[in-house]
Amino acid sequence: MAPELSTPQAKSQKAMTKAERRELQERQRAAKAAKAPSAPSSSPAPKKGPETSAKPTVAGSSKPPKDAKSAMPSIVDIDAGKARGLRIFSHFGLPKPVSVGKGDIHPSIVRLALLFSSFKIAGANARCIATLTAFKTVSYSRLCYTSKQHTFPPSHDTSLPQISHLVAARPMSVTMGNAIRQLKLDISGSDIDLPEQDAKDALCHKIDNYIRDRIIIADQVIQETAGSKIKDGDVVLTYARSSVVEKVLLGAHSAGRTFSVVVIDSRPMLEGKRLLSILSSAGIQCTYLLLPALGSVITEVSTVFVGAHSLHTNGAVYSRAGTALVAMMAKRHSVPVVVCCETYKFSESVQLDSFTKNELAPVGDLFSSFPLTKPRDALMLENKPNLEILNPLYDLTPPTCITAVVTEVGVIPQIPSALYHSLSADCFELLITFVLDHRLASCSHSSHSLFS
């Protein structure tokens, strides 16, 4: 079904109006419903659809919703397969279908959702910045898009479908949640009598400020603070790829310190390869190994730097799967573990283990993380009878394994949860404001250059 429809559609996709597009989707849905019960043999066909069409979709900037829809049956199949497995894994966030949203989904959000679901944009910071940037676009074009029931500032009703569409693509990151919450607060606080264009400008300005203050300048502060912990001759170990850690290492290198880096990596993402190429092209002496080999090098390491997805009030760090293993081994060998984490990644919730909240990466070799030397038929790339493949994306590092958390407001030692509580409350905001004022005064030109 996919091939016969895709050719005319791909051409006309951009030109079509939304109504036309929706009509087309309805037609497809009807056709699929008619086809499905009659021919069970045709079920492999839609399965192949998303695989073959995913790459061109992502490469081009236009996102035909049709692809998203055709992805649905295959994932539903997987869901049904998972259901018979162990129940303890059933609640993990599975790769969900990128469904057609209920409300009006802005094209930039549709595009972003596809980028998220295909892991083209991954990482807490990158996702948060991309989301905020997309919201900026949405808020500017909101008038032309929902002309009839237009209200500005965008109310809860109109922004919700956009967000839920993103969440459907991939579970929302804590950073996105925090940013959106802040955004909603800003919107609700804005003056209702403000002219529309001014309100939009104000909103976009607030978004820009958020990105600048909480992410970009925060990273600069962390880069300086954490970089000062690297001494000449150190062996720094890092796991996977964190944008902050990358900046810290590059910053310390450009500050003239000589140290070597051990990059640990693991499936399913193998993000460390990218970090490795960045670091080694910057001239840093690097060693690369996969996670199982960690035990043989940990004794040589002087500091471990890792990034975080979020930091919970009990002091636990929720981060890329494998971070907990690295921290555990480092702790066992008395190697300090430093977590680089901006304050906007702080989560109000408490998490006790990696099971309560997690996310699964898609099954198969999506990230081409298996070695090419390994014959593909020797690998299990899909679920079989009695066999299920789970690729958890995150794990939770217990606070006992963490030596220090470097934030833009300073280095926090491994502290009892109560302090995190007080930190995440008002006094924390004060701290941030204080530090940011200081920073803005001192490095205003550099931040300007970042935005221009």
Binding site: F89, M328, F370
Partner: protein, 391 residues
């Protein structure tokens, strides 16, 4: 004792072939290495010319030295040689007991053997009770290893002859027995051990592909219904083979990347590992990643069970862990040549094995029963002769 030159030893061609194979890493893995060694020793002994046990032992030692020098990290090669030497001495001991006690007391008296530090009395006592049939050779008897808990499955076949001449005929047989044992040591576990280790609807974590663990889990699957989580164990991704084998045996199997070992450990009831070599201090060498799994298990207070055949017992003490103890493999499976320029500028490390300390292991399950790490040294004393520790 003057060591014979290797080229004077009959069958040295087979020895040289195996030496080359070990050097070229064509024989990898404790099991393969042990089996190959047994076959070579069998050839050597069958053709050996000697007039007393001293010469025979010298020949085997020379062969063993050559083989273990070829690949010192394949500990099972040395273990097999030591075991064969032990069997020969025991055989000799039994065969000459009558004659020696009578008049011709030579330098190889029983008393000397007894004084060598093994609890030999125990074995001797058992021999007198043992029946004439070779229990180990009976493939259908499930109790052949489980039955006598103290009966070593590597026990050599015995001869009723009182002269030591029949060595030439019995020794190959001895080694054949040893060979079948090292094969079946994998497959045979006392049924009681399954009861001991696995209960219904447990979740087991294992890493890599150990044939011993595979057969253990498969045979336990006959009595118990449980779930196995296999970590895929980069860069060999041998966990995929394991998952395939287990799911084909209709065990409920999950395959996870190595990175999620810590995440799932809180739901795992037991960790079962295979071993490359078990050391005298109770630690072990195992596929890289075993240390991660064992440490994560310790962090969650999850028991760690090691399944290994007795031929992996190695009379070595590894009291520290450093590069010298490791063996490194081809890095191209970690960072392939498709990465282009990266390959030139970075170091890539790909160790075969991890050293897992005795404090991380709860129990060793061998074909000779289950032992805590603290009693492994004693097991080794019983398995090998002290003078063979240095080949």
């Amino acid at each position: 004792m003057s060591a014979p030159e290797l080229h004077n030893i009959p069958g040295h061609r087979a020895v040289e072939t195996l030496v080359a194979k070990l050097r070229r890493r064509q024989v990898i893995g404790s099991r393969e290495a042990a089996l190959e060694t047994v076959l070579v020793l069998r050839q050597v002994v069958a053709r050996a010319r000697f007039s007393n046990i001293k010469q025979l032992i010298a020949i085997i030692r020379e062969v063993g030295r050559r083989l273990s020098e070829a690949q010192p990290k394949e500990h099972t090669v040395g273990n097999t040689v030591r075991r064969v030497l032990h069997n020969i001495r025991e055989e000799y001991n039994t065969a000459t007991k009558g004659a020696a006690s009578a008049s011709t007391r030579n330098v190889y008296s029983i008393s000397k053997f007894v004084l060598q530090g093994q609890p030999r009395k125990h074995n001797v006592a058992l021999k007198s009770e043992a029946t004439a049939t070779l229990k180990e050779d009976d493939p259908d008897d499930p109790d052949s290893f489980a039955g006598g808990s103290s009966q070593c499955s590597w026990r050599p076949s015995r001869t009723s002859s009182t002269s030591w001449k029949p060595f030439t005929t019995t020794s190959p047989r001895t080694q054949k027995t040893t060979s079948t044992q090292s094969k079946s040591a994998d497959a045979r576990f006392p049924r009681s051990i399954h009861h001991l280790t696995l209960i219904r609807s447990e979740i087991i974590l294992t890493i890599g592909h150990s044939r011993t663990v595979e057969s253990f889990l498969k045979s336990a699957g006959h009595y118990r219904n449980y779930t196995v989580i296999v970590a895929e164990t980069a860069p060999s991704y041998s966990g995929h083979e394991m998952a395939r084998a287990l799911s084909a045996a209709s065990l409920s199997t999950f395959l996870v990347p190595d990175s999620s070992i810590f995440a799932i450990m809180s739901r795992v009831n037991k960790v079962i590992l295979g071993a490359h070599a078990i050391l005298a201090n109770g630690g072990l060498f195992a596929i890289s990643g075993a240390l991660l799994a064992a440490t994560a298990a310790r962090a969650h207070s999850t028991p760690v069970v090691v399944c290994a055949g007795q031929f992996k017992l190695t009379p070595l003490w590894n009291l520290y862990h450093d590069y010298g103890a490791l063996d490194f493999a081809d890095p191209s499976s970690v960072l392939g040549f498709e990465e282009g320029g990266l390959v030139d500028s970075v170091d890539v490390v790909n160790p075969y094995y991890d050293y897992v300390g005795p404090e991380l292991v709860d129990v060793f399950i061998t074909n000779d029963g289950d032992h805590p790490p603290s009693s492994v040294y004693r097991l080794i004393k019983e398995t090998y002769d002290d003078d063979d520790h240095e080949l």
